[in-house]
Amino acid sequence: MPIPPLPFDPASLVEAARAGDERALARLVSVAEGGGEPAARLARLVPFQPPASWQVIGLPGSPGAGKSSLAAALIGVYRAEGRRVAVLAVDPSSPYSGGALLGDRVRMQAHGLDDSVFIRSIASRGHLGGLSPALPDVLALVAACGYSTALVETLGAGQAEVEIARHADITAVVLAPGFGDAVQLSKAGILEIADVLVVNKADLEGAEALRRALEQALDTAAGAGDTAAGAGGPSRRLVRPTRPPVLRTCARTGEGVPGLVDALEHQLAALAASGELARRRRAAVVARIEAVWRELVSARFEDPTARARLDDLAAGVLAGDLDPYSAARQMSGS
């Protein structure tokens, strides 16, 4: 029995998505990704009211570390616990063509027909930091549609990892042997953001050495309760109530994956008990408001009246009546 194609207006899409229509949810993700006024309207329709069991798990890691395979293994465990799982697999768009090749689903197709699993590939669309600016909106959407676990898989080293840590409740950095020594690890900012460190591909040579290197790096790095030095002010710092555990997994065989889920639950409970989870969620909202605020400010640069005024001020600077700093101050005061 054919179902007619979907409408496009956000209000009826939200109603359908909340009622379990996956097509509607998928299209709303597109609306959020598109940004602008439709995304703003959508955000008003879907306030962030996550279920009590809501958890956002960030899975950053180098390409080839096995993030997608690990995500697939995690889906299996969370599904067995009766959770509905949304996987958001973020990959960078090409800076040259704007296109993207999104292949993370390849490893997750075993769950491709499970009605309680929603998998969506998201391109970063040129956003610096490698994450999609729409991610917080998409998380609010899947929370509103009855998913209780969101797995956010993202490429990452340095900046991008810091950003995922800002939007996730808990961050498990995925590593694999053969991606460099402990010095590389500390360079990439991995230790600062990890609540859990995962040595995947534990069946490969070098896994134990990597695990030891990570433990040693943790010994010499910030101890439990220390703050990690994140970019930006103190509100963005991550506080870890306990030392991040280092776990070995083999996503291919599923070995170590239940242990990883236990560790994530344990760490999440510790984050919640210490008040850090609530603080992180608040910081994520602050970051989101900041991002939208920045977009609004940027939009003012395109305003024709402002452009004309800018042009006049430039003439003043050229004539020696004004300096660029005073001109900019006049612009921002307007």
Binding site: P7, F8, P10, S12, R23, G34, G98, A100, F118, S121
Partner: protein, 163 residues
């Protein structure tokens, strides 16, 4: 259940539904990158063609979701729905193209995604090309087709969906 030619847009009932849905369509879809699922249904393991096409579409600025090998029509259609794809490209070199394409078209309509354009490629005899096009496959690109041709076709037909 046969599928309407995507060239003429979705079927009659679909047209009404879209008209009833109103103006949000262009606002949502205009300007976003075209999203294409490139899939390998069935049992053959020859994915070089699919990968070449996937890359060409990406290099043309599209967001390409690659499914990997050995996908069932059910998996492909679920992927197209979850990814809100504009187009699905199927690569079949096993000889099972008639059954596989037909099933994907049927399931898309059943899933309410009959407005997704379907194209394909592989080793497909000329008689079967005609049969598949009659079923509703928008275009078939057999050996010798240029990636430029494929990119141009997808761009034109996905844009029609964007309306």
């Amino acid at each position: 259940m046969s599928r309407q030619q995507p060239l003429e847009g979705p079927g009659a009932d679909g047209d009404e539904a879209i008209a009833a849905a109103g103006a949000g369509r262009a606002e949502v879809l205009t300007g976003r990158p075209i999203r294409v699922v490139v899939a390998k249904p069935g049992l053959d393991g020859h994915d070089r063609g699919a990968k070449v096409v996937a890359r060409a579409l990406r290099d043309a600025g599209m967001e390409v979701i690659y499914t990997g090998l050995h996908q069932t029509p059910e998996q492909i259609v679920r992927t197209a729905v979850q990814e809100d794809a504009d187009a699905v490209g199927l690569s079949v070199l096993s000889g099972a193209h008639l059954g596989l394409f037909r099933r994907v078209l049927e399931l898309l309509v059943e899933a309410g995604a009959g407005d997704v354009v379907v194209f394909g490629g592989g080793i497909i005899p000329p008689d079967d090309v005609a049969t598949l096009e009659a079923l509703g496959v928008g275009a078939l690109f057999t050996p010798g087709a240029s990636t430029r041709e494929i990119v141009a076709w997808v761009r034109q037909h996905a844009a029609l969906r964007h309306g």
